[in-house]
Symmetry: C2
Subunit: 237 residues, 2 copies
Amino acid sequence: MTVPDLMDLPDLRRELLFTALRGVEGGSSLAFTIFQEIAVGIVEGRLPPGHEVNSAELARRFSTSRTPVREALLLLERESLVIIPPRRRPYVSPVDMAQVREIYEIRASLYALVSELLVARASDAEIAGLRRWQGLLESDAACGDVDAYFWHNVGFRNAEVSLAKNGELQRRLSSLGLQMHRFRHLSLSLPGRLLHSVADHERLVNAYADRDAGLAAAVSRSLVMRGYRAIERAGGV
Amino acid sequence: MTVPDLMDLPDLRRELLFTALRGVEGGSSLAFTIFQEIAVGIVEGRLPPGHEVNSAELARRFSTSRTPVREALLLLERESLVIIPPRRRPYVSPVDMAQVREIYEIRASLYALVSELLVARASDAEIAGLRRWQGLLESDAACGDVDAYFWHNVGFRNAEVSLAKNGELQRRLSSLGLQMHRFRHLSLSLPGRLLHSVADHERLVNAYADRDAGLAAAVSRSLVMRGYRAIERAGGV
DNA sequence: CTCTCCCGAAGTGTCGACACCTTGCGATCC
DNA sequence: GGATCGCAAGGTGTCGACACTTCGGGAGAG
């Protein structure tokens, strides 16, 4: 957990997006670099859904051969960011509202699990550490700094997950998170949402401190689903 | 769900193992074939943990070039069946008890979610369809046919998942399932386990029919965790 | 003017080759 | 004899090439 809140936002961003995925890159780190580059482009919206990402052009742009690019595309496909139809050009996968719902349902369930495991396994000191993130969230919300709030929120979640001490779960949630970041901008546009969220986080940390697994799980789940409903109300994708 | 119970067991097996993963093969179907071949070898235990799977030899065995084999290895890595250290030979990933626990925790949570969603979304007819699988399980348990019981159990779970109508969830559970099948033989060795399991399945289907989401989720979760505890008691891996 | 067919441009899957790296074994040295 | 070094065998990551397929536009028929 080091001291990620001291990092500036761009570094924090890449850090949070990819940490749990590193080490799964399949040997070739060149492919992983290309993968990151394109992945960031997709989640930032620079590469919109449907946009072609053909291996030949990418190979030229990165001045490598097509082999590492193909590997990168396979990694992107495994994160559901890209679709590779046989014998046809790969393209950035579309996001429809149904899929957003599916992903949020899974995330709600898994974060509830995180909360349960955390209550059972985290030390008091570790739980106290979460309060630092919560403090950041509060000050961000007070300033109305939506972007900082979002990324510190991601940091909070990551800290939670690592306290659940389940590496497999961490990897799966990270993978889901990458895909979810594509429509994040939709979920924080609504006013009042930040304050709701701050209150929920406080309730959550208190439940952790009280070692109330049931309550923590319930709050976690409702926190995620509230995010989904915000997107839904904002008119979907 | 067609009529999978009419298929003979070997077909059913491959079908159940890979259906949800098909379509994610990344264009090259040659790579997917190799992937399946090796994956089956691993989950059947023919390729034990630690066994080397280097691309050069595999290319010779399948009489292709190394490129499709490398792709297959990447797919295997994404399913956590193989580890690919940089610049070193890939090998079948070891399974330690901690990881087994991690996977079962996730599966318990996700199957609880499946049950909730199923109650909300499946039609009465679809739920009635589950009773057919349950019937198979009962007769298998009566005969003491452990192998048939296992695979029909997998079929039952698959049917449940597809009734939850969440494709993303289906894919993630299928991926977890593939890895889990590596230590399945451990979980059904204990006597009396089949009867317990049959009773649980009946309770589960009844909860579905009663549209009792809370009960169904609880039974689902306990069903999975009972499997884990069976492995644990059997002395782990 | 529209539809069809054809052909060239360009991309995909696969291949064999190459430089670099790891590994295991045998010669060498203490 | 046991540890150390070096070298050959073989694997890995990357590359450029090739056949086949798809895509898009332009010639030609209706």
